[in-house]
């Protein structure tokens, strides 16, 4: 199914409006899905997340709807603080979107809490030496393989223009 979807989407992405529509749909849904995934990963209710983010439970419920699209950066920052996670925004190629779109899953949305983050584990070397930093980064790659595998596995197709 994935291969078939990939090929059909590659055709559809040739159209400017189509690929930007999918980008909008994916952005809205992935934010909502990740918020819910993170909340469930931590065993929180919507009310608990709302309390931590200093918002109403109804706002959390709305945010977790993939049909929600009224995001503000300020709201996302508050949610990130509530989860004690950093927020990352970046512009991406449509090759990356294609990969993300097809491979979306609940598992890929989960993130370790700060206490569980291997980068800050007390057993990790604290020196800024490049060799040790690289070792730390390799641990990061191992612990969060989906991010790096994602980059290596993106099929960008044939470059044009």
């Amino acid at each position: 199914m994935k291969d078939e979807m990939r090929e059909r989407l590659r055709e559809e992405f040739q159209d400017y409006e189509a690929r930007h529509d999918y980008a909008d749909l994916h952005l809205d849904s992935s934010i909502a899905l990740q918020i819910k995934a993170l909340r469930l990963q931590r065993g929180w209710t919507q009310k608990e997340l709302a309390s931590r983010a200093e918002m109403h439970q109804s706002q959390v419920s709305e945010m977790e709807q993939v049909t929600h699209s009224s995001w503000t950066l300020e709201t996302l920052k508050r949610v990130a603080r509530a989860f004690d996670l950093s927020l990352k925004l970046s512009f991406e190629s449509f090759g990356t979107l294609l990969y993300d779109y097809i491979n979306q899953s609940g598992e890929r949305h989960r993130r370790p809490s700060f206490e569980d983050d291997p980068a800050f584990s007390s057993t990790m070397p604290s020196s800024a030496d490049s060799e040790e930093s690289n070792a730390a980064n390799n641990v990061l790659k191992f612990e969060q393989p989906e991010r790096f595998v994602q980059v290596r596995s993106v099929d960008l197709g044939t470059a044009s223009g």
Partner: protein
């Protein structure tokens, strides 16, 4: 989760042929794909798939698809395999907090009984190929 579209004797469906324009077609398609990917992992409503169960007709749910219109198709689980299938039964649109047509849930309930009797004849499976024609 395998999505099915109700199919009347004239080959007309619920999701099939519903989109008013290309943008809406993509929104419907996106909805189906997300439902398939997430519902399989997490169950119909435990993770994603914004649905609410009808108070009037338990067993009839309605999904939410936002596009130029607020689509609220009525769906049921199964009927052959409630843990693995969803069937889109009837079209409905929400406008200003009102559902149109007003008897969408009742008609969906009737259709759910029809597909339970004839799951093969009265349904069309929404394959990836077919979703591209939604």
């Amino acid at each position: 989760m395998i999505p099915y579209d109700y199919d009347n004797s004239r080959g007309e469906g619920v999701l099939r042929g519903w989109a008013a324009d290309k943008r809406e077609s993509r929104a419907i398609r996106n909805h189906v794909w997300l439902a398939v990917r997430y519902s399989r992992q997490e169950g119909l409503n435990s993770f994603y798939f914004p649905v609410d169960e009808s108070e009037k007709k338990p067993g009839i749910f309605y999904a939410k698809i936002r596009s130029s219109r607020q689509l609220r198709p009525r769906i049921c689980l199964g009927p052959e395999r409630p843990n693995d299938e969803i069937t889109y039964l009837f079209r409905a649109i929400e406008d200003n907090y009102k559902i149109s047509p007003r008897d969408a849930t009742e008609k969906a309930f009737y259709r759910s009984q029809v597909v339970e009797e004839k799951p093969v004849e009265m349904r069309v499976r929404l394959t990836p190929q077919r979703t591209f024609t939604l």
